[in-house]
Amino acid sequence: MLSRVAESLYWMARNVERAEDLARLIDVTAMRAVDHADDAGDRWLSAYHIAGIDPPDDHGRSARSTALEAIVFNTDSRLSVAACVRIARQNAVGVRAELTTEVWECVNGLYLFVEAQSPRAVGPDGVSTFLRSIRDTAQAFGGLCDATLAHDDAWEFLRIGRSIERARMTSRVLREVRDDDGPHVWQLVLEACCATAPFARARSQSSDPAEALAFLALSPVFPRSLRFCARQVDRALHRLSGAPTGTFADASERASGRICASLDFAGQADLAREGTSAFADRIGAQIDELGASIVSSYFPRVPVR
């Protein structure tokens, strides 16, 4: 497939994933902030950090509405939910010929929906519903990609984009965790990663924060864990190159292989020793490097003959 197309698919998937993850994060943060008003300021600060957006010096009258404005609606930055949706749609326009009608209409519908909204139109009581719609559509996008596109190279690039962004988001959420955080924080962390029920099923008796964090980092079966996402990327890269698993054909496979190995053989004790935040930060940085090497391996401006 065309390199340009592969790159657009990759960024389309990443941006839709980011929009979904941020929408969930903001919704969850707003809910938890209602329950625990005393540290609501810290929770919103964490949300800014996770989103990679500089928090304002002054939160104004309402930390909540300021955060919504900055993280959800502000299209001056490339990082807000609305901006991600816009970028995803721009990429989709450029690869429209590669998409099925279903996938295209899903992205276009998400874009039209978000563009038509504003903080005022949504209103304070409509935020949760609004964010929920974004999540639903973004998840439908993933489903439609899986269910209507051929699982060929194009799909692998979508899978890579989605998995990298997912891993990045999970690592950023974990990075914000402090050892002295109360139980409501790790509950928030689980919810932000869509992991409450899966964790409860996996560890039915556990209310140990360390165990929950290890689950988010190392579960081999939970689809948003660092380990699971890294494995997805590694598999996709090997399917693209045809190189056997456990070997590498280029820098990106080498990077993904290393990440997988370090996660495959890590345990809860390792996290405790290094500290969850530091561990997540290190893996997050490696994932960013992996992303960069995928870009240079597969989307070169002038390909080598």
Partner: protein
């Protein structure tokens, strides 16, 4: 059907057709006495049974679907580059089998003659020696490409895809208004309109059972496959688009998807040793046929406009070496130059030895002194057109112009007479069209598409009807407030 007295009798009183009054033009729908023409009777009956509210609901639904699908075009004059849906009128235009056979014959003949003209004008130029067309007219055409002289495309096919714009005059006679043999667009609306209308009026659709349009992409693909360089067995075809900001980008994506070929931009291609390649994730892949929707001027900065970023350096050399087919061929624009248009009937007689099936609109050539002075003294009653322009731009409709505008055009004509033609103002035929909450007559045209392979012309039953939505307007171009209609062509 009992004899209705006007449209109201025997039909529900609240019908949206009640107040339809045919326009002072050839009315496609109604006979002179106001009764529906035979092939419109079933449509009339259906519309009569639909309330205004129901109809409005269908219109809203359809527009929502089109926006969601992104069936949009970009308006160049609009600085924001906004995407708009091409207004789609829910009332289909219906063409019966005999009329279509006539149109199709005329289009076939015209395309063959224009293709023969291109082969000649870039080859032996006999047509010029025989004095059929003034030499200066051809050589002064801004779309005549000297670079293309002596370059023979496979099977001498130049005009792989064309769109011939046809109107009906006050007597209902089909006339050719202009030829489009460069990169005509509109087929995507034909495909989408049909799809949408089927949902809006499924039962009516079953009653009429018009010829399908959705085989167009496969027919186009066949034509492009046949156009490949002879040495290539299973050609790789790609569509070359100027990119997402082009007004017809949606169409390019639709055709690529339906044909199952890559949609490439100039930067996706590279030419090495006169061979065109696409840059893929698995390295370079050779391209044999480019259905290019980029104008000649922009395809190769080495030969044409050096500032073009839409094309590919070396593409013209690859084309000239016969390693890639460009569809349409380079230089076809000379054949649809509006100054050449008046000579097309003569070209048909010259190359085919036949009388034209479809006549031209009477046209005054401003480069001829006598005709020019006629134009200058009758501007109020004429349409003046720039020969190099298209899309409804660069045009003066005398009856709808101010004295200043006419003076401006008169100066321009005197300065560059070769660049202008003029035609009498033809009142295009009118068709019932949704206007606010009722139905009124609006002027329409018709663009059938033709696919040429060697000496075989395929005219798919997928024709594009444009409608001037402003009351009394005769300009149907989408950039000028035009909309579109689904066009139902009936089988024998």
């Amino acid at each position: 059907m009992e004899r209705p007295d006007g449209f109201g009798t025997g039909l529900k009183m609240s019908s949206i057709l009640d107040r339809y009054a045919p326009a002072p033009a050839f009315d496609e729908f109604a006979e002179a006495d106001g009764r529906p023409r035979p092939h419109y009777e079933a449509l009339a009956a259906t519309l009569a049974g639909i309330s205004a509210a129901d109809f409005r609901h269908r219109v809203t639904t359809v527009n929502g679907v089109l926006l969601q699908r992104g069936v949009t075009f970009t308006v160049y004059a609009d600085a924001r580059g906004t995407e708009r849906i091409l207004p789609f009128d829910l009332i289909p235009r219906i063409i019966d089998a005999a009329e279509w056979a006539h149109i199709s014959r005329g289009v076939t003949q015209r395309v063959l003659a224009l293709n023969a003209f291109l082969k000649d004008v870039y080859g032996e130029a006999k047509v010029l020696r025989d004095g059929i067309i003034p030499r200066t007219l051809v050589y002064s055409s801004e779309h005549y490409e000297r670079e293309a002289i002596g370059v023979r495309p496979p099977h001498d096919t130049y005009i792989h895809v064309s769109g011939i714009d046809i109107i009906r005059d006050a007597q209902g006679e089909y006339l050719v208004l202009e030829d489009n043999v460069r990169t005509p667009s509109g087929i995507s609306y034909v495909l989408e309109n049909r799809d949408v209308l089927k949902r809006a009026f499924p039962r009516l659709f079953e009653q009429y059972d018009p010829l399908p349009v959705d085989d167009y992409p496969q027919r186009l693909r066949s034509a492009l496959t046949a156009a490949a360089p002879p040495s290539v067995g299973d050609p790789t075809i790609a569509i070359l688009t100027p990119g997402i900001y082009n007004s017809a980008y949606f169409e390019h994506t639709l055709l690529a998807r339906r044909m199952g070929v890559e949609l490439v931009e100039g930067s996706d291609l590279i030419v090495r040793d006169n061979i065109v390649y696409m840059k893929t994730t698995r390295g370079l892949q050779r391209v044999d046929v480019l259905y290019r929707r980029v104008d000649d001027d922009y395809i190769d900065p080495l030969y044409f406009r050096a500032d073009s970023t839409l094309g590919v350096s070396g593409l013209f050399d690859a084309y000239r070496s016969g390693n890639v087919t460009l569809a349409n061929a380079v230089g076809t624009g000379v054949a649809d130059d509006k100054a050449i248009y008046p000579y097309v009937p003569a070209l048909i007689r010259y190359y085919l030895g036949e009388e034209p099936v479809l006549h031209n609109v009477e046209t005054f050539d401003c480069s001829d002194p006598a005709q020019r002075s006629h134009v200058l003294s009758n501007m109020r009653d004429l349409v003046v057109k720039r020969t190099g322009a298209s899309g409804g731009y660069g045009m003066l409709i005398g009856s709808h112009s101010s004295a200043d505008e006419r003076a401006e055009f008169a100066d321009a004509i005197n300065a560059n007479p070769r660049d202008f033609i003029a035609q009498p103002i033809i009142t295009l035929s009118a068709h019932p069209t949704v206007v606010d909450d009722t139905i009124g007559p609006r002027h329409i045209d018709l663009r059938p598409f033709a696919l040429l392979s060697g000496d075989t012309v395929d005219v798919p039953a997928a024709a594009f009807t444009r409608v001037a939505l402003r009351e009394g307007s005769l300009v149907v171009n989408s950039s000028q407030g035009g909309g579109s209609k689904d066009t139902w062509i009936l089988a024998d």
